[in-house]
C-alpha cells in the first residue's frame, strides 16, 4: 500500500498550558478534498501550522509521502508539494499581481548567484516560461485583467484570489486553504467551490478549513471535525451531518436537518 | 582581595543598572503601547544630563531643584515630539520608525553638540565630594542620592502602572490596543502620556548619573544601544523584564571592569550575543 500524500500521526500541541491539539491523526490521499471543520478555537489553524512547518508539535509526527516531515522549515514543506493560504489574507503589498504570482514559481526553481550573474539557458527558459505560466494562473483565478495592479490596491475578495494564485504558482500537490470563503458572498462562494473541484480534477488534493457549510458539503470527499483540539469525527459529509457527537458539539439541530434535506 | 571588593562592585553595578532600567522601562513602554522602536531614546537621557547642567551652570539653580525641573522640561519635549513625529509613525512599517528615529537622534544629538560643544563635564552639585562609608562600601553622597532616587522612581512607576487608573489604562493599551479603544480608553492621550513619561524617566537617569560621571552631547547614542540591549535581555514590552535586565547589565559591566575596563562596554554586546544563541526569546519566558 503506497503511503498517503499527507499523514498526520498523533499530533499534540501544548502552549502555555493550553492544549491546542490533542492526539490528532488522519490521512489525506491524492486527489481528495478534505474539509476540517469545528468551532472557533478548535485548533484548525494550529493544525495547518503544524502540517506546513510554521509550528512544531509537542508530540506526534507529520509524514509526506511516507517520509518524515517534522522540523522541516515551511519552505521545505512547500518544496515537497504542500502549499497553504492564511486565515488573514496575505499578499506582497507593494508588488503587482503579476509579480506576486511569479514568486510562487520559485518553489521549483532556485538558481544560484553565479547562474544569475552570468546567465544560463535553463534560467532564460525559466524566465520566459514564467510569463505564460503566470498569465495562465491569473486567468484561472479570474485576475487576468488586474495583472499590473499593486496587491495592496485590490479589494478584499480580489486579494483572496491573489493568495490562491500565488499558491497555485507553487504547483502544489496538496493545497491547504484556510477559510477561503470568509468574506465572500453566495455567488462568489459558488465560484470558489467550483474552483476547488477543478483543482482536484487537475490532480491536486485540497484541504479546507471552512465555516461555510454549503461549501463544505458541496465539495468535500471527507470531513474531519475538531473540537477542543481533538478529532471527534471523520467521514463523508452526509455521515458527519448525522453523527451525534458532531451535532451536539458544533452544528446544532438546524444544520442536521439541512444536510438530510 | 577580590572578595572584599564584592560589595563595592555590586553597589556600583546596581547604581548603573538602575539607571539603565530607568531608560529601558521608558523604551519598552513606548514599544509596548505604540509599537515603535525609538532609536532616539538615549537622547532624552543625554538631554536630561545636559539640560540639568545648563540650568545649574547658566542660572545658578540648585541641583536638587534642577533635577525635577529637567525632568519636566524633557517630559514636555517628549509630548511635543509625540504629537509632531511619533504619532505619524504609528502603523507604519518597522523600517520607517527605525530610520525616522535614527534621523531624529542625529538632529537632537548634533543640535546639542552645536549648542554645548563636545567637552564632557560633570554636573555641579551641592553634595560633598568626600567619600562616605556604608559598611564595606565606599561611595559618595551623590551616588547614594542617585541610587535612592532611581530605585524610588522605579518603585513609583511600578505602583503607578498597577495601582492607578491611568496606569491601568496604559497596561490595557499595552496588551490590546483595539480592545482598549473599545473600552473607551482614550488611546491618543494614553500614548502621548506614555511617551512623555518614557522621556521623563530617561532624563531623570541622565540628570542623576551626570552628577556622578560626566555629561556630553554624544552620550545619547551609547545609552540608546544599552537600553535596547536591556530590552533584549528582559524581553520587549516587559517592564519587570527591563528592570531586571537593567540590573543584570549594570552588574555585568561592573564585574566586567575587573577583566578589562576597555572592553567594559562590550559586556552588554557579549550578553546579547549569548542570549541570541541560547535563548532567542530573551532571558525570561513570557507567560
Amino acid at each position: 500500500m503506497t503511503a498517503a500524500l499527507l499523514a498526520v500521526d498523533d499530533v499534540s500541541v501544548n502552549f502555555g498550558g493550553v492544549a491546542a491539539l490533542r492526539n490528532v491523526s488522519f490521512a489525506v490521499p491524492a486527489r481528495r478534498i478534505v474539509s476540517v471543520i469545528g468551532p472557533n478555537g478548535a485548533g484548525k489553524t494550529t493544525l495547518f501550522n503544524v502540517i506546513t512547518g510554521f509550528r512544531k508539535p509537542t508530540t506526534g509526527a507529520v509524514r509526506i509521502d511516507g517520509a518524515a516531515a517534522l522540523g522541516l522549515p515551511p519552505h521545505q514543506i512547500a518544496r515537497r508539494g504542500l502549499v497553504r493560504t492564511f486565515q488573514k489574507t496575505e499578499v506582497f503589498p507593494d508588488l503587482t499581481v503579476y509579480e506576486c504570482t511569479r514568486i510562487g514559481l520559485l518553489n521549483h526553481a532556485q538558481p544560484g548567484v553565479l547562474e544569475v550573474l552570468f546567465g544560463s539557458r535553463k534560467l532564460t527558459q525559466f524566465i520566459d516560461a514564467a510569463k505564460t505560466e503566470v498569465a495562465l494562473i491569473l486567468e484561472t483565478v479570474g485576475l487576468g485583467r488586474k495583472a499590473a495592479h499593486l496587491a495592496r490596491e485590490l479589494s478584499y475578495g480580489e486579494q483572496r484570489l491573489l493568495e490562491v494564485a500565488v499558491a497555485l504558482a507553487a504547483r502544489p500537490r496538496l493545497i491547504l486553504l484556510d477559510e477561503p470563503s470568509s468574506g465572500l458572498n453566495a455567488e462568489e462562494s459558488l465560484r470558489l467551490a467550483d474552483l476547488i473541484r477543478r483543482l482536484r480534477d487537475q490532480g491536486m488534493s485540497v484541504m479546507l478549513i471552512e465555516h461555510n457549510m454549503n461549501v463544505v458539503m458541496s465539495v468535500s470527499d471527507t470531513v474531519v471535525v475538531l473540537h477542543h483540539g481533538e478529532k471527534i469525527a471523520e467521514g463523508r459529509p452526509a455521515d458527519i451531518g448525522r453523527d451525534a457527537a458532531v451535532v451536539s458539539a458544533y452544528l446544532g439541530r438546524d444544520w442536521g436537518q439541512d444536510a438530510a434535506g | 582581595m577580590m572578595l572584599e571588593l564584592l560589595p563595592q562592585f555590586i553597589f556600583n553595578g546596581l547604581l548603573i543598572g538602575a539607571s539603565y532600567a530607568l531608560v529601558a522601562v521608558g523604551l519598552t513602554m513606548i514599544f509596548g503601547i505604540m509599537n515603535i522602536a525609538n532609536f532616539a531614546h538615549g537622547e532624552f537621557y543625554m538631554l536630561g544630563g545636559c539640560i540639568a547642567f545648563y540650568l545649574i551652570d547658566a542660572f545658578g539653580i540648585n541641583y536638587l531643584l534642577a533635577v525635577p525641573l529637567t525632568v519636566v522640561i524633557v517630559g514636555a519635549l517628549g509630548l511635543v515630539l509625540e504629537r509632531l513625529i511619533f504619532r505619524r509613525l504609528r502603523g507604519k512599517p518597522a523600517v520607517s520608525s527605525v530610520l525616522a528615529t535614527i534621523g531624529l537622534g542625529l538632529v537632537v544629538q548634533n543640535t546639542a553638540l552645536a549648542f554645548w560643544g563636545p567637552q564632557p563635564r560633570p554636573i555641579p552639585t551641592s553634595f560633598s565630594r568626600l567619600p562616605v562609608q556604608l559598611g564595606p562600601i565606599f561611595t559618595t553622597e551623590a551616588r547614594i542620592f542617585a541610587v535612592a532616587v532611581t530605585v524610588g522612581a522605579l518603585v513609583l512607576v511600578h505602583l503607578f502602572l498597577n495601582r492607578t487608573l491611568w496606569g491601568t489604562a496604559m497596561r490595557a493599551t499595552f496588551q490590546q490596543a483595539e480592545a482598549a479603544a473599545l473600552a473607551a480608553i482614550p488611546i491618543d492621550r494614553v500614548q502621548t502620556m506614555t511617551f512623555a513619561l518614557g522621556a521623563a524617566l530617561a532624563a531623570l537617569g541622565g540628570a542623576l548619573l551626570g552628577a556622578i560621571f560626566f555629561v556630553h552631547p554624544t552620550m545619547g547614542g551609547t545609552e540608546t544601544l544599552k537600553a535596547f540591549i536591556v530590552v533584549i535581555l528582559g524581553g520587549l514590552g516587559s517592564i519587570p523584564g527591563s528592570m531586571v535586565g537593567g540590573l543584570i547589565l549594570g552588574l555585568a559591566e561592573s564585574f566586567g571592569t575587573v577583566v578589562s575596563s576597555a572592553y567594559k562596554d562590550a559586556m552588554g554586546f557579549a550578553l546579547v550575543i549569548f542570549v541570541l544563541i541560547y535563548r532567542p526569546d530573551g532571558l525570561f519566558k513570557r507567560s
Binding site: T52, P74, H75, A78, R79, V83, R84, F86, E90, V91, F92, P93, E99, R102, I103, G104, L106, N107, H108, Q110, P111, V113, V116, L117, L123, F126, A167, A169 | F31, A37, R88, L89, A94, V95, S96, V98, A100, I102, G103, L104, L106, V107, Q109, N110, T111, A114, G221, L225, F228, I229, V231, I232, L236, S260, Y263, D265, F269, V272, L276, P280
Partner: protein
C-alpha cells in the same frame, strides 16, 4: 538604458575634463560609497533587513588590506580579494547568528558587531596601533611590458580603478535584483511568511544579500585604505553606517539607481556645505527623518511621482 550610457561616457571622461583636482577626489570617494550603498541596498532595501552594522564589513576590509600590506608586503592586488573574503566571511558568520531573529534583536545585534569590531581595533594596539591608526598604505603600481608603468598612487589611475569596481558592484546588484533571486528578496521584504509558504527560503535569500553586501563593503574598504593611505578604528563608527543608510534610503532603497544617486549626492553635498559643517549632521538627520515620513521611496520615488503627474493630460471639460 540610454541614461546609463550617457553617464558612463561622462564618468569616463571626467579626469580629462576635471583634471586631478578636488572634484576628482570626490568622485573617487563617491565611487567607494557607491559600492557601500549598493551592497547595503541589497540587504536593507531589497531584502528589507535592517542591518545597521555595515561599517563593520567596511572597516574589516580596510584593516585586512592594510595589515597584509604593512605586515606582509602584500600589494593591493592580493589585499583586495582578501578583504572581500574576510568581510564576506564575517558576513556569513554574523548571518548564521543573526538571521535567526528579526525585529529589534536583529538590529541591535548588527550594531553590536560593528561596535565590537571597533573596540577590538582600538584595543589591540600591538596589531592596529589603536586609535592612532595605521598609515603608509601605498597604492600599487603595475609595469606592463611595452606600455610602461601604471602608478595607481596617482589620482587618475585610481579613479578608473574605483570606477571599474563600482560599475561591477552596481552591475552585480542589478543582475541579482532583476533575477529570480531578486524576486525572492522582494518576497522576504514584503511578506516573509507568505514567501516561506511557497518555497522561498528567507534564510537563503537573506544570506545571499548579506554575503554580497559584505564582500562589496570589504572591497570598498580595501580601496579606501590604499587611496587614503590610512586606516583607523573610526571606520567602524555608527556614523559611517548612518551615512551609507542615508544614501540608500534617500536615493531610493528598492531601486538600482537610488543608492548610486544617494552616494554621489551625499558625498558632494556635504563638501559644498562646508561652511555649515557644524550643522551638516543636523541637516542629514532632518532629511532622513522627513524623507522617511513623507517620501519613503526616496529621490527615485519623488522623481517617479513628478513624472507621473507631468504625464497626466490636462483635464478638460467633459
Amino acid at each position: 538604458m540610454a541614461a546609463w550610457a550617457v553617464l558612463l561616457v561622462a564618468l569616463l571622461s571626467a579626469p580629462v575634463v576635471l583634471g586631478e583636482g578636488y572634484e576628482l577626489h570626490l568622485l573617487i570617494v563617491s565611487a567607494i560609497f557607491v559600492m557601500l550603498s549598493s551592497g547595503l541596498s541589497l540587504i536593507v532595501g531589497h531584502a528589507g533587513l535592517l542591518s545597521l552594522g555595515h561599517a563593520a564589513f567596511f572597516g574589516l576590509g580596510a584593516y585586512t588590506s592594510a595589515l597584509l600590506y604593512l605586515r606582509l608586503g602584500v600589494p593591493m592586488w592580493g589585499g583586495l580579494p582578501a578583504a572581500a573574503l574576510v568581510s564576506g566571511g564575517a558576513a556569513y558568520l554574523i548571518g548564521l547568528l543573526v538571521l535567526k531573529v528579526r525585529g529589534h534583536r536583529f538590529i541591535i545585534t548588527t550594531i553590536a558587531f560593528a561596535e565590537i569590531a571597533r573596540l577590538v581595533a582600538v584595543n589591540t594596539v600591538d596589531l592596529t596601533r589603536g586609535q592612532m591608526g595605521l598609515a603608509g598604505i601605498q597604492a600599487p603600481t603595475i609595469t606592463v611590458p611595452g606600455l610602461g608603468t601604471l602608478d595607481f598612487g596617482a589620482k587618475t589611475e585610481f579613479y578608473y580603478l574605483t570606477l571599474a569596481f563600482a560599475a561591477i558592484c552596481v552591475w552585480t546588484v542589478a543582475r541579482i535584483v532583476r533575477s529570480p533571486i531578486g524576486w525572492g528578496l522582494a518576497a522576504v521584504r514584503e511578506n516573509e511568511n507568505l514567501g516561506e509558504s511557497v518555497g522561498v527560503s528567507a534564510y537563503r535569500h537573506s544570506m545571499i544579500a548579506f554575503l554580497v553586501g559584505g564582500a562589496f563593503a570589504g572591497i570598498a574598504g580595501s580601496l579606501h585604505a590604499h587611496y587614503m593611505n590610512f586606516v583607523s578604528p573610526d571606520l567602524f563608527l555608527f556614523s559611517y553606517t548612518t551615512t551609507m543608510l542615508v544614501m540608500v534610503v534617500i536615493g531610493g532603497r528598492t531601486t538600482i539607481a537610488g543608492p548610486v544617486i544617494g552616494a554621489v549626492v551625499f558625498t558632494f553635498l556635504p563638501e559644498y556645505l562646508r561652511f555649515v559643517h557644524q550643522y551638516r549632521l543636523i541637516v542629514l538627520g532632518a532629511i532622513l527623518l522627513i524623507t522617511v515620513m513623507l517620501c519613503p521611496g526616496g529621490f527615485v520615488e519623488l522623481w517617479e511621482r513628478w513624472r507621473r503627474r507631468a504625464a497626466v493630460p490636462a483635464v478638460g471639460a467633459s
